[in-house]
Amino acid sequence: MILGDLLGTPVLDADGGRLGRVADVRFVLDGTPHQLMAEPRLLGLVVGPHSASSFMGYERNGLTRPRMIARILRWRHRGSFLVLWEDIAVVGNRSVRLRPGFTRYSTALDDHAQA
């Protein structure tokens, strides 16, 4: 499976209720160190209840201008959350199903936290 197939896939909770669609995926660079960078590890999926479109970079807290665009894009992605890979039960062709009792993490990125 490639990432392009996963983006836009509906995300369901354990009971089959619709939560939104896959808007993005998050990686962390904490694997085996290589020459250029450490091996990336899939941290989890970003689920958007209203829109699976791009965040255009406004998932970062530090990016607030132009204020109007930032506000519109944040509004479009209101309620989006990050689910960790451990909380995902099945990644199917048609949908992604989460485990019961999954945790919703914030999708925001701090500027200093990302390389």
């Binding site: 791009s54 970079g57 201008r65 132009p66 109007m68 665009i69």
Partner: protein, 408 residues
């Protein structure tokens, strides 16, 4: 001294390079039909292109990325590809219009049919792109294009009634025209002044000429002085048409009508100047649009690009430009009127503008790319105002095109 010379040269080429076939045709058409009642649109368009060129030049100089590299990174592959397809096709249309413009200008100078000039023009464009250094190419066409100043000179030689001309400046719809065609031509004029290729070219040129942060001041002067003066030049085309053609009831449909007021005001010598200027301006713009088609493709697909590389090292970049020239030639060989292609190309340019404007506006605000050189508050306020203007023009263009039968 050398620095001052560099600034002067930059300003002069910015003026001479501002006018292209789109400006020539649209300004003359508008002047002959609407007088000076749409001059305000040129002013708005010039402010817009200054803003857009300033942002994309700054992004290129600071981050080292040209427009389509930024679009690919920010929008991702899928949305980026849709964006590329639209921008590229409209640019190809502009390439076609510019080559047709060279051929028509040469026809005016030689009385040899323009269809025979088309292959000559296309081969000449290709040879220059293949062989001539970037800076020489820019400076020669830019300086020769300055001979179009004759339009401004002709305005004075025609000894118009200045009071009556000033009276036309108010943005009102002339009696014989409808509000819809007025709006349609407003968008066409806006698209002619704010053509997207200028921005692809400007930002890629910044990478070609290896700009860095310390060149920002000079590029800002070039843009902020050169473009408004270039805008005045294109307004003078409209003024010429408004003085001579509007009272005569001639609405412009060919390039020979565009130069008519100059011939009347400035005689044979003026005509010689205007012909040199038109060949230079359309040739320069043909180079820029052809290069822009190569730039956009290569930047999106990650091919090595640029005239600073030898053609063998940027083979796909050069090949794609050859194909674009051939396509442009093939379209013109069908006998379609280049003036008509031009009129459509400026409107479609306005339609496609948000596709490149929005990503540049966003990235120009991103400290990860720009560090301390992000947009200031004033630029952002202007940037948002223009985002609205550009969106309105883009959305309104197609319905207006249908309602007015493309302005006829």
């Amino acid at each position: 001294m050398k620095r001052l010379l560099g600034v002067a040269l930059g300003i002069l080429t910015a003026i001479g390079g501002f006018v292209d076939i789109g400006d020539l045709v649209t300004n003359a058409v508008v002047g002959s039909r609407f007088g000076l009642s749409l001059v305000w649109v040129v002013a708005v368009g010039v402010v817009g292109i200054c803003l857009f060129a300033n942002m994309s030049g700054r992004v290129a100089a600071v981050s080292g990325r040209a427009t389509f590299e930024v679009i690919r990174e920010r929008l991702g592959a899928r949305a980026g590809l849709a964006n590329l397809a639209a921008s590229f096709l409209i640019n190809l249309m502009t390439v076609t219009a510019e080559i047709g413009g060279i051929a028509l200008s040469l026809q005016l100078a030689s009385s040899v049919d323009y269809l025979l000039w088309i292959p000559v023009a296309a081969v000449a464009v290709w040879l220059v792109i293949w062989r001539v250094r970037f800076s020489i190419m820019e400076n020669v066409t830019g300086l020769l294009g300055l001979t179009l100043v004759i339009f401004a000179v002709a305005v004075f030689l025609l000894k118009p009634d200045w009071g009556a001309l000033a009276g036309q400046l108010a943005p009102t719809v002339p009696q014989q025209e409808t509000f819809w065609s007025y709006s349609y031509y407003a968008i066409a004029l806006f698209g002619a002044a704010m053509t997207p290729y200028e921005v692809f070219f400007f930002s890629s040129g910044a990478v070609e000429e290896k700009w860095s942060v310390k060149d920002l001041a000079q590029s800002r002067i070039n843009v902020l002085v050169g473009f408004p003066l270039g805008g005045l030049l294109s307004v003078s085309i409209a003024v010429c048409a408004a003085i001579v053609l509007l009272p005569a009831g001639v609405s412009v449909t060919s390039l020979s009508q565009v130069v008519l007021p100059v011939a009347e005001g400035a005689g044979k010598l003026g005509l010689a100047f205007v012909l040199v200027g038109m060949v230079a301006a359309t040739f320069g713009a043909a180079l820029e649009t052809t290069l822009s088609s190569g730039y956009t493709l290569a930047q999106f697909f990650g091919w090595s690009w640029g005239k600073f590389r030898r053609p063998a090292q940027a083979a796909r970049f050069h090949l794609s430009m050859i194909v674009c020239l051939l396509v442009g030639m093939a379209v013109l060989a069908t006998g379609v009127d280049p003036v008509l292609v031009t009129e459509y190309s400026v409107v479609f340019s306005a339609i496609a503008l948000p596709l490149t404007y929005l990503p540049i506006l966003i990235v120009a605000n991103d400290p990860q790319y720009m560090g301390e050189h992000v947009n200031g508050r004033v630029v952002n306020v202007l940037g948002m105002v223009f985002l609205v203007i550009i969106l309105v023009a883009s959305i309104a263009a197609i319905p207006l095109m249908i309602v007015t039968g493309a302005g006829s």
